[in-house]
């Protein structure tokens, strides 16, 4: 447990020393979202309809931006070797890294989304549902992304490959996440979507660190 906390603390500390990387992803999210009204037109009815999908797709891409670096630096400077030699199971340490990734790449998106959502004329209720759906969904993105990041570690053209591997696996999270907001806007109630999103999260917490660890061991050999 100590080692888990140490890993989370270290990664947060590193992110704090390299603030620009966190902010780049956030600005990317803001810019991508703002491009849609420019490309589609400013009618509020239309914007309200596309808002959930646009915000979710943008969040998904923004969360992917930093995945490349999730294990790459640790692999290069030998930290990953030390982690795998720790008496603490590697899967626990990997979970720590995923948690830190979510805290620096996912949580800021959750907090920023309602502000950006205002551009799309979403109601306060819908913004609330959007926040909850992102709160449940962005950890799934970090978890599944960790598998992809571990698999593409040290592989030629890893960046593009990572998106190729990970994006199809993001689809359920996208569907339930954006669906929750849409259902709420349509007055259908978002409960079903949100509980499915929660189920995905539970499944991810259970399986993803294990799969990512198996992939990391391959890269370490």
């Amino acid at each position: 447990m100590n080692a888990f906390i140490a890993i989370v603390r270290r990664d947060l500390l590193l992110a704090a020393r390299r603030k620009s990387e966190v902010f780049t992803a956030l600005f990317f999210f803001m810019i991508v979202v703002s491009l849609f009204p420019l490309g589609i037109g400013p009618e509020t009815a239309m914007l309200r309809r596309i808002a959930p999908g646009v915000l979710w797709v943008a969040a998904l891409l923004a969360a992917m931006l930093s995945l490349n670096r999730l294990f790459a630096a640790d692999h290069q400077d030998g930290t990953l070797e030390q982690m795998s030699l720790s008496p603490t199971p590697l899967a626990v340490l990997v979970s720590g890294k995923v948690l830190a990734h979510w805290l620096t790449a996912g949580l800021p998106l959750v907090l920023l989304a309602p502000v950006i959502g205002l551009q799309f004329d979403l109601s306060a209720r819908a913004l609330g549902v959007l926040m909850i759906s992102l709160l449940l969904g962005t950890p799934v993105l970090s978890l599944v992304g960790a598998i992809g990041a571990a698999l593409t570690l040290g592989v030629r053209g890893g960046g593009v490959l990572l998106s190729l591997l990970v994006l199809p696996l993001y689809i359920p999270a996208l569907i339930f996440g954006a669906g929750a907001v849409e259902a709420d806007v349509a007055g259908l109630g978002a409960g079903g979507h949100l509980s499915l999103l929660g189920a995905l999260l539970a499944l991810g917490v259970f399986f993803a660190p294990w799969a990512a660890t198996a992939a990391l061991r391959i890269a370490l050999e």
């Binding site: 080692a3 590193l14 390299r18 400077d77 030998g78 930290t79 030390q82 030699l85």
Partner: protein
């Protein structure tokens, strides 16, 4: 006690070395020698349990290391080619995190004492980025001072160190051996260590194509 029998290592199609036997008992050291690319680092990684051996087996206290993995790793300290130093963290933070990940959290006073002893007095809070190559190595070596591990596996521990630091490191290694510790290391320079020890010379004995050789024999 660590022992290995019939170890072999493949890289791609090539067999780097084969039939390597070794054993290290408490208070003993083993120096691994060999030309560049002879597989020194690969051998150390195998012994640390980081990569599987192509052939042969490795035992710690009579048990295969794959079976007693956690127990083995709790007693092992491995310093690889890459020093596992984060450029953006200070020397102190680096040392403390490394110790916590290794399962032995250090309080600040102990960590600072270790850094001072290894010659980083006054630099504890500087980010590793501004330290010289040798100073970064010292941050990594400070882990030795705080380590309770029985077995140390060190890949090129003397590289980038000045004369004074080499002497100091030898002192640290002697202390470890005197405590009944075991040591396996690689080095290109001759090192005088107390205690008994052996040198293992790795050489590529096998020709690149196993198949070709077999046919030659048949012909």
């Amino acid at each position: 006690m660590l022992s290995a029998h019939g170890l072999a290592c493949d890289r791609g199609d090539r067999r780097l070395f084969s039939a390597v036997d070794l054993s290290v008992s408490p208070g003993e050291w083993l120096q691994v020698e060999g030309a560049n690319g002879a597989g020194k680092t690969s051998l150390l990684r195998m012994l640390a349990g980081l990569s599987p051996a192509a052939d042969g087996h490795i035992e710690w206290e009579g048990q295969p290391i794959g079976e007693a993995r956690d127990d083995y790793h709790a007693r092992l300290l491995y310093l690889g080619h890459a020093p596992a130093i984060k450029e953006d963290l200070s020397a102190l933070e680096n040392l403390q995190t490394a110790a916590a990940v290794a399962g032995r959290p250090l309080d600040e006073a102990t960590a600072i004492a270790a850094l001072r002893r290894i010659g980083l007095k006054g630099r504890e809070d500087l980010p590793a980025r501004v330290l010289s190559q040798g100073q970064k190595r010292r941050v990594a070596l400070a882990r030795l001072l705080c380590s309770q591990a029985r077995l140390w596996i060190l890949d090129e521990p003397f590289v980038a160190l000045d004369v004074a630091a080499v002497t100091q490191l030898c002192g640290i290694l002697d202390e470890h051996l005197a405590r009944g510790g075991m040591l396996i290391f690689t080095s290109h320079q001759a090192v005088q260590l107390a205690g008994s020890g052996t040198t293992l010379k790795l050489s590529a004995a096998t020709p690149p194509r196993a198949g070709a050789e077999a046919r030659e024999v048949a012909a």
